[in-house]
């Protein structure tokens, strides 16, 4: 396919799966957290804000290590998840997705929160007086108006997921076909003699992927601002 070897296709497919799953699963939570931070003041808000931003400032390896300790098979949370639900993150691609989601989460929350904060809240009040319940107003007014931020946040998190290295390799190791995503594969090839050509091919794939993601988000943002009657573009 496209002059790619089966191995390369496998790496690409795994990377995309990890990034997509991490984004799709973290998006609802990110919207919820962003909404909470943007609209409400509650005790411990600063703490929640700090925890959300932690992955942004911690070394990724530390995040990966923390995941390993907590969610590893014998970790306090990991063992319970395994026992009760049969869910295992350690050394699985789902663990790579979890690591990606965690690393991209602050970027996602920040972008969505900014977008939510720029919405004139009186629009929501107006919608309430017209008969909309809180939930309906959120779905019909707040969410559509936050779409630009949601797109930006999704892209940032997706790109972060595609490039995630430190937390992934620490948490789920570097298992070909299971947890070896693009960056891990590139790193592996640079570590073996004569692997430079392979590393270069995979790097080009990574660059192309990033450009496609960027262009898609740009296109979506433009469409959503057009639908809001914004003719600046």
């Amino acid at each position: 396919m496209l002059g790619l070897s089966p191995d390369e296709v496998g790496i690409l497919a795994l990377s995309l799966r990890v990034a997509v799953v991490s984004v799709v699963c973290s998006l609802p939570l990110a919207i919820l957290v962003a909404y909470g931070l943007a609209r409400f003041s509650f005790p411990g808000k600063t703490l929640v804000d700090a925890i959300v931003h932690l992955p942004l400032v911690l070394p990724p390896v530390v995040v990966g290590f923390a995941l390993l300790v907590l969610l590893g098979r014998r970790g306090p949370i990991g063992s319970l998840l395994d026992e009760w639900f049969g869910i295992v993150f350690a050394f699985r691609w789902t663990g790579a997705a979890l690591a990606s989601a965690l690393m991209g989460f602050p970027l996602m929350v920040r972008a969505i929160r900014l977008s939510l904060e720029s919405i004139d809240q009186r629009l929501e009040v107006a919608a309430r007086t017209l008969g909309g319940s809180r939930l309906w107003v959120f779905a019909s007014i707040t969410l559509p108006l936050a779409v630009p931020g949601i797109i930006t946040g999704t892209l940032l998190s997706f790109a972060r997921g595609l490039g995630e290295f430190g937390a992934t390799i620490t948490f789920v190791s570097n298992i070909p076909g299971e947890t070896q995503t693009l960056p891990l594969a590139i790193y592996t090839f640079t570590q073996v003699p004569g692997g430079d050509a392979q590393a270069l091919r995979l790097s080009i794939i990574a660059v192309v992927l990033s450009i496609i993601a960027l262009a898609t988000s740009e296109w979506l943002t433009r469409r959503s601002s057009q639908s809001q009657g914004d003719d600046r573009h």
Binding site: L123, L130, G131, G132, S140, P144, Q228, G229, D231
Partner: protein, 362 residues
């Protein structure tokens, strides 16, 4: 029927307002910071009073004694905000239908076609709010509030953000609503012109309290409300009917309880009710009936009250038949003429001091 009796603490501002009013248009009048917006926010359920009762017709919207506090979405209050607040991601038609879609068909009494026709929105339906002028936005906002099938329409300074031609346009539309739909309107404004043109009953608010409630011509002529209504704008409102048109000179004669007024031509039918607002500073006084002057309106009046504060200005309340006028003269003239309570005088009003904005159709 609107019954309000609420108390609310907003920072250092204490709101304690109590009034009942029943009229096609109730004007909520007061300067900025007087508590007007707090009152309608409480009616709409946007803010919650600490104590009190809010009742529209038979529906109790808020009653602290019975622990009733309906959320805004079930109060059925049409709220028109100062700056329209249209939803930017929807076109005009979706904006209009936003509220209608949320009401059960049993509650519907105004159809979309009716509103579109009444407010002249036909050509705008597919447009986005950003492509509308200020006046068009406000018309859409009014239509959107109406289609939510409200018990009552609350308008919070709906003209404040518009220029004068747009103001006149929206005022005309509001009068059409009053005449054609049977929905009571609470109109909030700090503008004497708007209130006297539209409102039948006026509630005057000042400092979070209700100073006066009554018919617009009675309340606006009261001298004691001057601090609340504003010095510059002081004046009276006459309830008149069109008596005759003079096509040649383009003048209209208005008859009221106490005499007649000649004003520049009005586009109104003979017999139609017209509300004429006469500013206190446009009224001059004379001891004897003057002759050979340019002023067309000379009315015999009785001095009913004197507002004799210190300062260069004296305001006089004048009785003309069953109507009231207010005249503003200098203290020097007041003393030179030796004016006292009950004295008979002649009030002089230039016909040209009336303009379209000071005359409204009731």
């Amino acid at each position: 029927m609107i019954d309000i009796d609420i108390e609310q603490q907003l920072g250092a501002f204490h709101l304690a307002v109590k009034f009942s009013a029943e009229a096609p248009i109730v004007g909520l009048f007061g300067r900025s910071g007087s508590g007007k917006t707090s009152v309608i926010n409480a009616i709409a359920g946007i803010s919650r009073p600490t104590r009190g009762l809010i009742r529209i017709n038979d529906a109790v919207l808020f009653d602290s004694a019975q622990r009733i506090d309906l959320p805004p979405e079930v109060r059925r209050i049409g709220f028109v905000f100062q700056d329209a607040l249209l939803f930017p991601h929807m076109d005009v038609e979706s904006n209009l239908l936003y509220g209608q879609r949320l009401r059960s068909p049993d509650d519907r009494f105004i159809e979309e076609a009716r509103v579109v026709d009444l407010l002249g929105l036909g050509a705008l339906l597919r447009r986005k709010p950003k492509a509308l002028s200020g006046g068009e936005k406000q018309r859409v906002a009014i239509g959107r509030a109406l289609l939510a099938q409200p018990r009552i329409l609350l308008m919070d300074e709906p003209l404040a953000a518009l220029d004068i031609p747009r103001k006149t346009e929206i005022l005309d539309y509001i009068e059409r609503l009053r005449d054609e739909l049977n929905i009571p309107i609470v109109y909030v404004s700090h503008s004497v012109t708007e209130i006297t043109r539209l409102a039948d009953t006026v509630v005057v608010l000042s400092d979070g309290k209700c100073l006066a409630v009554g018919d617009v011509d009675e309340v606006m002529g009261r001298l004691d409300l001057k601090p609340a209504t504003g010095r510059y704008e002081a004046g009276a409102v006459l309830d008149t009917r069109v008596k005759a048109h003079d096509a040649e000179d383009q003048l209209t004669t208005l008859a009221f309880d106490g005499g007649e007024l000649i004003v520049p031509h009005l586009d109104a039918a003979i017999g139609e009710r017209v509300r004429a607002r006469i500013r206190a500073r446009d009224v001059s006084l004379s001891i004897r009936r003057p002759t050979e002057i340019s002023i067309l309106n000379v009315l015999p009046v009785n001095v009913a009250a004197i507002d004799d504060e210190t300062g260069p200005i004296v305001d006089l309340q004048l009785a003309v038949g069953g109507s009231t006028l207010v005249a503003r003269i200098t203290r020097r003239s007041f003393q030179q003429l030796g004016i006292r309570n009950g004295q008979e005088l002649y009030a002089l009003i230039k016909a040209v001091s009336f303009d379209q904005r000071s005359v409204g159709y009731a």
